[in-house]
Amino acid sequence: MAFNINAFANPKRFMWLSALLLPWVAVITVLATAAGLYFALFDSPVDYQQGETVRIMYIHVPAATMSIAIYVSMAIASAMGLIWKHPLSDLAAKCMSPIGAAFTFLALITGSLWGKPMWGTWWVWDARLTSELLLLFLYMGHMALLNAFDDPSRGTKSAGILCIVGVINVPIIKFSVDWWNTLHQPASLMKSGGPAIHPDMLLPLGLMWLCFMGYFVLVLFIRMRSEIIASKVRALRLRQVHG
């Protein structure tokens, strides 16, 4: 194999690479957040139907996108952990789930706050909303299973299986608005024929997406690095005791 994925499964190499990337990701995140919030709140037009309420979109849509993207990454990491037994991919899946759960929660809350003024209701049990709520439960189940066993490797295995099984929910969330009648409107961005969003509104949306993406990578790197360092400290302590 010309490209060896195993090269990235080395914790030492990960520590080196992530230390190199962290400051850049931090700078990009801060800049994208500042610019994104400025455009989203001050320098973007109101919507022809929704008025100022449309600004909720700049949090809601990136949060919802991230909630799905993180879940897919988590499932891929879990699968690699189960199949090839890479400790680093198990660690990645473990560190991703609280971040993904936070984005899912944010998408649900902002959606609810948006639904009240626009639709006239905080919540309905339509296919899109229900499947997104299921995603939150999958994240919470993943976190709970990880810590449910005295032997951490058993927790990692069961949580990994849950995560891979739950990936079935991802296409259901994405296509729920096309397969069934829902109160939620169909996709505006990833649809055939191009986005149905005016370019002046796409700019803050893209910036906020970059901001959320940067935040995710930043927090993931920090979490994974501290887990690796913590396990090193544990190993050293054990060696001291038994040494």
Partner: protein, 167 residues
């Protein structure tokens, strides 16, 4: 076969089987998953019991919105362009409610009229400034309710419709 390869196949086969199960279950439950029925779907149903709550969705028919003699009951028709159902609703309508707008109403049938106790507004997937919507409508390139992506992609937004920089 190496153990790693066997695990890989197990995961892949498991996912395919799960996907098939999910697809079959969802297809079987379609009537329970849809959030509302269109007027045509309602017409196609045999008899709807008077004590069954039902949601119908469609567009508010233009020219159909009136008030009853009591002054608080709203009367309007929901249409999917093929069939139309009359709705009575006592209460405050959502802000987005107007003729031509997508709505979802929920209630009980009394004869052929739906006595709704909830009216929710749907909004479409289009997002644009009001000036642009106005200009697109005027130029005849876009009608409310249609996707605007084609109009936006083809650069059909006229220059004089570029929103003034005062948001």
């Amino acid at each position: 076969m190496k153990r790693k390869t066997r695990r890989l196949y197990m995961v892949l086969v498991g996912l395919c089987a799960l996907g098939a199960v999910a697809a079959i279950v969802l297809a079987a439950l379609e009537d329970d998953i849809v959030f509302f029925f269109s007027p045509t779907e309602i017409m196609e149903k045999d008899v709807i019991p008077a004590d069954q709550r039902i949601r119908i969705g469609g567009l508010v028919e233009s020219g159909s919105v009136t008030k009853a003699a009591d002054g608080v009951t709203n009367l309007f028709s929901v249409t999917d362009m093929a069939n139309t159902i009359e709705v009575q609703y006592k209460g405050i309508l959502p802000d987005l409610f107007r003729e031509g707008q997508g709505v979802v109403t929920e209630g009980y049938f009394q004869g052929k009229t739906l006595l709704a106790d909830e009216v929710l507004a749907k909004h479409d997937e289009n997002y644009m400034p009001p000036e642009v919507a106005e200009a697109l409508k005027k130029s005849g390139k876009w009608k409310e309710g249609e996707p605007i992506s084609e109009a936006l992609k083809n650069g059909h937004v006229p220059d004089d419709a570029k929103p003034a920089k005062e948001y």
